[in-house]
């Protein structure tokens, strides 16, 4: 008989073990949960309803109630479903299926209880103005746009609710035939609201003009370049900071550096 008597676990040990179990469980659960949330909020290609605040703030502020979806008379808006790889429950639209028809009364915005759709941002002289909406910006793929091939098409230009403002037509000579013109659509990004009616109207199999969120579609020139001929452009670099780097050559002034002949001999 070599039966060893097991010592009962002391209360102190039990307490410490239970604490460790709790901490372990919390850490595990917390990381899994955080990882999921991080993945789930990552999609940046969604088009939001008019008046939506900055995407990172929008994700914080939207309570996912769907009042905007119910208010939309065209069934443009949807709430992201589970398994769609979009931030779950938040409203978005897909212009190729149903664009924003830019109602002058903007029914989707005032119903928002949380201010994720901001009425203030759409006011001109204290009146709702849908033309101030900024849902995204239309981008033309000149490779697949048939107008750039020389075939006459102005479907997007005609569909645009800001006719002649948000999309303009640029004329140029078709050198291939020598007697025809190209009528190329050009998006004026300052006027474009991103409603997507052009994308809906586009005649090509997959739309050659399509709307993307501004953050995704546009570059940024930064503070290093300025339109010297444009007074307005000064404002853009108002808060620019300068950072000077010193290298081996720039330690001395430029003239001194050139006059230094020591290295030549």
């Amino acid at each position: 008989m070599n039966e060893t008597k097991r010592e009962p676990i002391s209360d102190r040990r039990k307490f410490i073990l239970n604490m460790a179990r709790g901490v372990g469980l919390a850490t595990m659960g917390g990381f899994v949960w955080s990882a999921h949330v991080n993945e789930a909020k990552a999609s940046s290609l969604l088009l939001r309803p008019p008046g939506a605040i900055k995407e990172s703030d929008f994700l914080k502020t939207c309570i996912k109630c769907g009042l905007c979806v119910v208010a939309c008379p065209y069934n443009t808006l949807f709430l992201a479903k589970a398994g769609e790889n979009k931030p779950i429950g938040t409203p978005y639209f897909t212009p190729r299926e149903m664009p924003c028809y830019m109602c002058p009364t903007i029914p989707c915005v005032p119903v928002c209880p949380t201010g994720a759709l901001d009425e203030e941002s759409l006011l001109t002289n204290q009146k709702l103005d849908i033309n101030r909406a900024d849902m995204g910006v239309a981008i033309v793929d000149s490779n697949s746009c048939i107008a750039f091939w020389g075939i006459q098409c102005d479907a997007c230009y005609r569909a645009c609710p800001l006719l002649g403002k948000a999309i303009t037509i640029e004329y140029s000579k078709n050198e291939r035939t020598g007697k025809h013109a190209y009528l190329k659509p050009v998006v004026q990004i300052d006027s474009c609201t991103g409603c997507g009616m052009c994308e809906k109207a586009c005649v090509t199999e997959k739309a050659a003009i399509f709307v993307l969120p501004r953050e995704v579609a546009l570059g940024r020139a930064g503070d290093h370049y300025i339109k010297g001929w444009d007074k307005e452009d000064e404002k853009r670099v108002k808060n620019a900071t300068s950072k000077t780097t010193t290298t081996e050559i720039s330690k001395k002034s430029a003239v001194d550096s050139l006059n230094d002949t020591k290295e030549l001999y």
């Binding site: 917390g30 999921h36 949330v37 994700l59 914080k60 309570i63 009042l67 119910v70």
Partner: protein, 271 residues
């Protein structure tokens, strides 16, 4: 017929409110009704009275969102409402997940999983408060309302009016979890929304009152109760069920054949 009504009256009423509310939200989106628009996160009643989920708003606050006056008004109305009818009245009278977990609980009792498992439950009912605390921590760190990104409650409700997507999988997971893993698992142990309403419900007015003189100790109430720890006074003394974890589902009142349990207004002043 009368006994049937007597034994299932609250259950029937609960199912009617649960399904009826879903139907009203559904009608709002599909047929343009104006009775109840939105979903459980935030809604408008008759296009006038706002109501918003206080727990979702709390998470938004921790995530760093600017809370609008409209939203806070909605939260105040919802909070007051549940302070009167019982915090977790939400769980048993409104929440759609309750239909799923009640079904799982029923099957458990009928098939005998409860008996085969014995009384050993591998998790504590305090877990929900930890999940609640963690949801606020994660909301702060990630900058979004953390539970709203995984909440099956909102998922199902959005599903009804706006399309479910893969939400059915979440429903199935909860059903299987409650059926095979943990008795009263989701609603009684994990769900932080239930935890939140438990805390709110500790102060609420409408409560179940136990009368010891009538009780014959049949313990049917404890068997049917999804939060049986709140009935700790059975057979001991005549008391109100003061624990916020009681969902006011009233199943105990229905199954009691001795009329020892009933709704009452809590005594605010202690004698």
């Amino acid at each position: 017929m009368m006994t049937l009504w007597k034994n299932y009256r609250y259950l029937l009423l609960r199912r009617i409110t649960q399904i009826g509310l879903m139907f009203l939200y559904f009608g709002a989106n599909v047929w343009g009704w104006n009775i109840l628009v939105g979903n459980l996160s935030s809604s408008k009643i008759f296009g006038l009275i706002p109501m918003s989920d206080p727990y979702a708003t709390l998470q938004m606050f921790f995530a760093g969102a600017v809370l609008s006056a409209d939203l806070l008004l909605g939260v105040a109305i919802a909070t007051l409402f549940y302070l009167v009818v019982g915090g977790r009245a939400f769980c048993s009278w409104v929440c759609p997940i309750n239909l799923i977990t009640d079904t799982a609980g029923y099957v458990r009792r009928k098939v005998g999983i409860d008996r085969s498992q014995g009384f050993r439950q591998p998790a504590s009912r305090q877990l929900r408060y930890w999940v609640l605390a963690m949801s606020l921590v994660i909301s702060t760190l990630m900058g979004v309302a953390a539970f709203e990104f995984i909440s099956p409650v909102s998922m199902v409700y959005r599903g009804i009016a706006f399309g479910l997507g893969f939400g059915w999988a979440a429903m199935l997971v909860i059903f299987l979890f409650d059926l095979f893993v943990l008795k009263d698992g989701w609603c009684g142990h994990v769900c932080p929304l239930g935890g939140f309403y438990s805390l709110l419900g500790s102060f609420s007015l409408l409560r179940v009152l136990y009368n010891q003189e009538k009780c014959t100790l049949c313990m049917k109430c404890k068997t049917v109760c999804p939060e049986h720890q709140v009935l700790h006074m059975i057979g001991k003394e005549s008391l109100s069920v003061t624990s916020g974890e009681c969902t006011n589902c009233a199943r105990c009142i229905e199954v009691c054949e001795d009329d020892a349990l009933g709704f009452s207004i809590r005594k605010l002043v202690k004698r």
